[in-house]
């Protein structure tokens, strides 16, 4: 840093310490402008809960593979990491091509890597990075998810999916979760295998910091099938929420026609949850499990008014197709929970109408999705002109505090 000459009474003018943000830049520097929002918007007065953020489990992939229970699978995976130069952080994963398009080819470095310096201590590096992000944005608690593990729903080998889901969850609940009370999680279920999912819920359902369970939404599964009912019943009886976490695919019949990641991301991050919500409502799952709280994560919000209107319109003409419903589909949707990111803000009047439609005051929960390329800072909610003070407070944290009993 070099001092520069100053005239006319300004006390100092210095070269900024980081001229260009790269994958090696400290999170606190990347998020310095978000940190300024804390004072500008009095964010310290809010109990901010971020219901969707991520750590980068590939950085700990070898440790995670050590948690594979089956010795043959553990050997197979570790052999891949040792012998294949490109598989050190990929073995047994289902890393799709689109994920490496997310940083817009070097334009958004933090999406590609948080490669900043962290002093080597007994504390896990990921925990340091999570704390830096939370403190930079004024977040009190954060629900932390993995990243490539969210793609496991399309992995070709179900037994590997089950084994890896247990390995990741055991690693996370032993290595990260017990060391920071501000970190919470909704653990992935090996949803294709109901027996294994029940085992997962029983193993971790009472683990401190586990506030519910999650289905990765990119999968070819009808959530209404009888085989899954035991999972919903178990969660309902335990009072644990069930989340659907969206993700991308470039390989289904729709997205395989597309040539740009913009198109793939715009559609597939939403259509996966549209599909599951449709099956969920039409098959009357809210009537079968009335106490089960359902959360839709990382699809934004603009799709929800579409679903409400579309399903209501069709239901009124085809009531016999959905005989379990006692109300309009939109009325069930209004009792579900949603996370806010990525908040579609380009048409403010439609955003305001969307907030009203989804009963945002009680059902919407702020999420950052940090460190993803389309993350939202808390100012996204705190700065909305049509929200009253209590609504801001609820969305930024109180709705999550109530739902997760924080």
């Amino acid at each position: 840093m070099s001092k520069v000459e100053v005239v006319n009474g300004v006390s100092s003018a210095t070269e900024h310490k980081v001229q260009q943000i790269t994958t090696r830049t400290d999170s606190r520097e990347i998020l310095a402008n978000a940190h300024r929002d804390i004072a500008r918007l009095h964010l310290d007065d809010y109990f901010i809960v971020d219901v969707d953020a991520h750590h980068v489990e590939f950085d700990s992939w070898s440790e995670i593979l050590d948690h594979l229970e089956n010795p043959v699978l553990r050997h197979n995976a570790k052999s891949m990491t040792q012998n294949w130069p490109n598989a050190k952080q990929l073995a047994f994963s289902n890393h799709p091509v689109g994920l490496t398009f997310q940083d817009v080819f070097g334009r958004i470095p933090h999406q590609a890597e948080l490669g900043e310096h962290v002093e080597k201590t007994e504390e896990h590096r990921d925990l340091t990075l999570v704390r830096r992000a939370m403190d930079s944005m004024g977040i009190k608690m954060q629900v932390v998810f993995p990243q490539p593990m969210l793609e496991m729903g399309l992995h070709p080998e179900p037994d590997i999916v089950t084994a890896m889901t247990f390995a990741y969850n055991r690693w996370f609940t032993r290595t990260i979760l017990p060391r920071e009370k501000r970190v919470k999680t909704l653990l992935c279920l090996p949803f294709h295998d109901p027996e294994a999912s029940l085992k997962m819920i029983k193993e971790f359902g009472e683990t401190p910091g586990v506030v519910g369970f999650m289905i990765t939404s990119q999968r070819h599964a009808g959530v209404h099938k009888n085989m899954f009912m035991r999972i919903y019943r178990e969660l309902e009886e335990r009072g644990l929420p069930l989340a659907f976490h969206a993700g991308p695919t470039w390989g289904d019949t729709m997205t395989s026609t597309m040539n740009r990641f913009l198109s793939v991301h715009s559609m597939s991050f939403v259509t996966c949850n549209m599909m599951h919500m449709t099956n969920w409502i039409v098959n009357g799952l809210p009537e079968r499990f009335p106490k089960l709280k359902v959360i839709w994560i990382e699809s934004g919000l603009a799709w929800v008014p579409f679903m409400m209107q579309r399903l209501d319109h069709e239901y009124l003409m085809r009531q016999s197709d959905a005989p379990l419903l006692k109300r309009l589909p939109s009325e069930y949707i209004q009792e579900m929970f949603f996370t806010s990111q990525p908040l579609e803000v380009t048409m403010p009047h439609m955003l305001e109408a969307t907030f009203k439609a989804v009963h945002a005051d009680t059902q919407l929960m702020y999420s950052s999705d940090w460190p993803h390329w389309d993350f939202d800072v808390p100012a996204r909610i705190a700065g909305l002109p049509f929200l009253d003070e209590q609504a801001k407070r609820n969305i930024l944290g109180e709705n999550a505090r109530k739902l997760f009993r924080l």
Partner: protein, 125 residues
């Protein structure tokens, strides 16, 4: 911004090379100064989208798509005549000369008056 503006000497002209930038702190304000085709442009380090640190982003020419007279695409190309600054938070791109997003011109960077004198670069804040 202070109520009264002040002219601040930033440094010698060569500190902002052609196609490059200098990001400086003046009090609580951070400013990016850029040089394109010999001219200087300066903006607050605050993206119009979510107030990200736009001036610390990647500098890259605008991407265009080559379309022939029949309407067929022949792929991407860089338009070297339009240099962009890209916000590293979310990728919002701005033409450095205009400070405007090429697809939504109302999304603009906040300009700062910059001038180059014989002894170097001055900004008014």
């Amino acid at each position: 911004m202070p109520a009264t503006s002040q002219k601040v000497f930033v440094g010698a002209g060569e500190r902002v090379p052609e196609g490059g930038r200098l990001v400086v702190d003046i009090g609580e304000i951070t400013i990016g100064i850029f040089r394109v085709d010999g001219n200087l442009y300066a903006y607050l380090n605050r993206c119009a989208h979510q107030r990200g640190p736009v001036c610390q982003g990647k500098i890259i020419p605008r991407v265009t798509e080559v379309i022939d007279s029949g309407g067929e695409s022949h792929g991407f190309a860089f338009d070297e005549t339009h240099l962009h600054i890209v916000c590293p938070w979310h990728g919002f791109e701005y033409d450095i000369k205009t400070g405007a997003h090429p697809g939504r011109r109302s999304a603009r960077l906040i300009p700062v008056t910059v001038e180059e004198a014989a002894d170097g670069i001055y900004v008014t804040v």
